[in-house]
């Protein structure tokens, strides 16, 4: 009979030899979800380094008062490109990359639902990235004014109108973002169709790994939140190039419309960005605590709740524009409401660790730091949701510190946890634990040096986006400490890069299942072959690999 034994028996993988040009062609023309996933993550890491260097220059400029490392115009371009790159060319491809690589493996499928659409999504995202960066060369346009865009990542009208933003830089910004958004939508449709239609026999929705659940809801938010941004960019381009009047107040248009459209996208976007971290934590914490995820149904419910509540909170970015008090009340209340499901998640991850047999390896360290830092970010978020409090600190460094706590302290730490966890699967080699711990501690200390201090700079009234400041306002020491924090962060990141390079070449072999995992990706060889599974598995519980390894004590008896 066709019983499934563990470890799964399978033939030795055949490794054909390819010349360099053949290899290059195979990568460029690939529709394999694992290669595309890797290409997404590697391009995202490249842009992370680029935007990280921009951030370092920003901190260098702000280290001491009256500094003149860069001029005001360059400074404006730096923070615009830093923000846009980090959100659209680092965060979004990370979403697509992780879900591309892992969703088919976790649900026991051989590829995504639409492999060619998948490849299209990646290449059009990359084109968007090139369009944005081409502005450094082509941004001058016919009038010869301006280089890269300098309108800030949310590009408020009327700053983006022809009168204030000459040249073509803002057009490159709008088109780059619009085009890479098409890629994100393609990949989101793909993830949803894959998870709904290609699950292996027995994998019901209630048995689907938490990672896949989170990525499905994430894709849902992408599908309903990105079109408003596309609409806004189309309107902006019509305004700039065909003389339309959407955001032209002199013709009766409204600058506030841009803000609404942008934040209808912009706030769900931060959930889109943080969800991969949620997904990774929901896999990593159970494995390294040796306990199944605590309160799985509540976790699914919380994720779905965020997927809907997050669509109705956008105007808390706009408390300072003078909305009616009813609007202020509504958006303050809904913003606090979204804290409830997020709190459920934090509690459940903590409860998963409680009483578990913790293995303090690098992925878990990053997860623990995530929990603490994301908690702080959530609490400052609740503070900023209180409209009168927001009026005091709107557009101050308090806000900057808050969202860097969510996006670095949350997202980036989560992504590092995921990379340390799945690198053995992707490459077949283990990452060095020593270098990993160096990476973690350096990055964690540096990050907190920079961004804890910036909270206080903000509370003392330092506005964001100033290119320099006078001495004696109480910001000097804080800014110096914040800038010094860049050094350990950069050193930590170097450890990471070195770790990846060294381990890919001479790392210890990982084997199929180095962490004693429970989800199906660990049932494949490392790295997985192009077809993923020799024989499609049959699943009977939410921990299929546990069942295979422990036939005497399987999960399905208790589920």
């Amino acid at each position: 009979m066709a019983t499934i034994d563990y470890p799964l028996d399978r033939p030795e993988p055949i490794a054909p030899e390819f010349s360099f040009s053949e290899t290059l062609y195979n990568w460029v023309a690939t529709v394999d979800h694992k290669r595309l996933g890797l290409m997404y993550v590697v391009s995202a890491l490249f842009f992370l380094v680029v935007a990280g260097i921009m951030a370092s220059v920003i901190r260098l400029q702000l280290a001491v008062p009256n500094n003149h490392v860069v001029g005001p115009d360059t400074f404006n371009r730096l923070f615009t490109m830093h923000g846009t790159t980090m959100v659209f060319l680092v965060g979004m491809p990370m979403v697509a990359g992780f879900s591309n690589y892992l969703v088919p493996l976790m649900i026991g499928a051989r590829d995504m639902a639409f492999p060619r659409l998948n490849a299209f999504g990646f290449w059009i995202f990359l084109l968007g990235g090139f369009l944005l960066y081409f502005s450094y060369i082509g941004g001058g346009g016919l009038s010869g004014a301006g280089s890269a865009p300098d309108v800030g990542w949310f590009a408020y009208a009327p700053l983006t109108s022809k009168a204030f933003s000459r040249g073509a830089a803002t057009d490159y910004w709008a088109l780059g973002v619009l085009v890479s958004g098409v890629g994100s939508i393609a990949s989101a449709i793909n993830v949803i169709a894959t998870a709904f239609c290609l699950r292996c026999p027995g994998m019901t929705l209630s048995r689907m790994p938490m990672f896949v659940w989170v990525m499905v809801v994430d894709s849902w938010i992408i599908l309903v939140a990105l079109p408003p941004l596309s609409a806004a960019q189309i309107m902006l381009e019509l305004d700039r190039n065909l003389g339309a009047n959407f955001f032209d107040t002199q013709a009766g248009g409204s600058a506030v419309l841009w803000q609404h459209l942008f934040w209808i996208f912009g706030h769900p976007e931060v959930y889109i960005l943080i969800f991969p971290a949620f997904a990774i934590l929901s896999e990593v914490i159970p494995i390294f605590s040796r306990k199944p995820l605590f309160g799985r149904p509540a976790m699914v419910g919380a994720v779905v709740a965020i997927g809907f509540i997050s669509l109705g909170v956008w105007a808390h970015h706009m408390f300072a524009i003078g909305m009616t008090s009813w609007s202020n009340t509504f958006f303050a209340a809904s913003s606090m409401l979204v804290g409830v499901p997020t709190g459920i998640k934090i509690f459940n991850w903590t409860a998963t660790m409680y009483g578990g047999k913790l293995r303090m390896r690098t992925p878990l360290l990053f997860c623990i730091a995530f929990l603490l830092q994301f908690l702080v970010a959530g609490l400052t978020g609740i503070m900023l949701a209180v409209a009168p409090f927001d009026w005091q600190l709107h557009d101050s460094y308090f806000v900057v510190a808050h969202f860097h706590f969510t996006l670095i302290g949350g997202l980036v730490f989560g992504l590092f946890a995921g990379m340390y966890y799945w690198f053995p699967k992707v490459s077949g080699k283990m990452l060095s634990e020593t270098l990993g711990k160096w990476h973690f501690w350096l990055f964690c200390i540096g990050f907190n040096m920079t961004f804890i201090t910036l909270h206080f700079a903000g509370l003392l009234g330092m506005p964001r986006r100033i290119y320099t400041y006078y001495p004696g306002r109480g910001w000097d020491t804080l800014n110096l400490v914040a800038s010094l924090g860049v050094i350990p962060q950069a050193a930590g990141l170097l450890c990471f890069v070195w770790n990846i390079v060294r381990s890919s070449l001479r790392g210890a072999p990982a084997g199929d299942d180095p962490w004693d995992g429970w989800t199906l990706e660990w049932a494949t060889p490392s790295p997985p072959p192009e077809y993923n599974f020799e024989k499609l598995p049959v699943v009977r519980s939410s921990r299929p690999l546990w069942d295979l390894k422990h036939p005497q004590d399987p999960d399905w008896k208790f589920e």
Binding site: F196, L226, A251, V538, R540
Partner: protein, 203 residues
């Protein structure tokens, strides 16, 4: 051992009876959802800017309700269903006929939009930059028209390949998705017509 055999038999049973939704169906449904959101932003912009134009021409002076073109577009939703049914019953001749009628109805709608725009631009001097009415009108109706164009291109591809003898009956599933998209384009016109030619007409 006995238990193992039961499990294996159970697993085989599950493998045989395991069915999931069709990936194309799910993909097209979510594509339509995301398109709906895109349209609703332009509809919202139109509604917000009704009556906010500072200069003439205003909708009440220049707009006429395109009754005939709208009826054509709505009936094309019916004719594409007739074509689908004919394809299901393998009546290829009737399929081609209804498919051609659908293309002609859609084509006439596009032609009517073109003549309307020509009149607005050359006789009433309303362009996208004239006032807020022009801005929102051309962008909303233009977004819809661009979707009609995309739909027509796909309809034409199906028609030409069928006429060339391509076995279209093997593509029933794709024809169904195209028909869903065409219904979506029609449904959007219901909203656009209501907003532009009923609610916004008197401003």
């Amino acid at each position: 051992m006995a238990e193992d055999t039961v499990i294996t038999a159970d697993a085989l049973q599950m493998e045989r009876t395991w069915t999931l939704p069709d990936r194309g169906t799910v993909g097209v449904i979510f594509l339509i959802i995301t398109e709906t959101v895109l349209f609703s932003m332009f509809v919202a912009a139109y509604l917000i800017y009704i009556g906010k134009s500072l200069t003439a021409p205003f909708p009440k002076d220049v707009l006429e309700r395109p009754y005939f073109a709208s009826i054509c577009l709505f009936s094309s939703s019916a004719t594409i269903v007739f074509a689908e049914h004919a394809l299901k019953k393998s009546k290829l001749g009737i399929f081609k006929l209804w498919w051609l009628v659908t293309i002609l109805l859609g084509g006439y709608f596009l032609f009517a939009t073109g003549t309307e725009w020509h009149k607005l631009i050359y006789e009433d001097h309303l362009t996208i930059s004239t006032n807020l009415f022009g801005t929102t009108f051309y962008s909303l109706v233009g977004l819809h028209a661009s979707h009609v164009i995309v739909g027509l291109i796909f309809l034409l591809i199906v028609f030409v390949t069928t006429m060339l003898g391509f076995p279209i009956h093997t593509q029933e599933r794709r024809v169904k998705f195209l028909s869903w998209y065409w219904h979506f384009v029609d449904a959007v016109w219901v909203v656009v017509f209501t907003v532009v030619y009923i609610i916004g007409l008197k401003s």
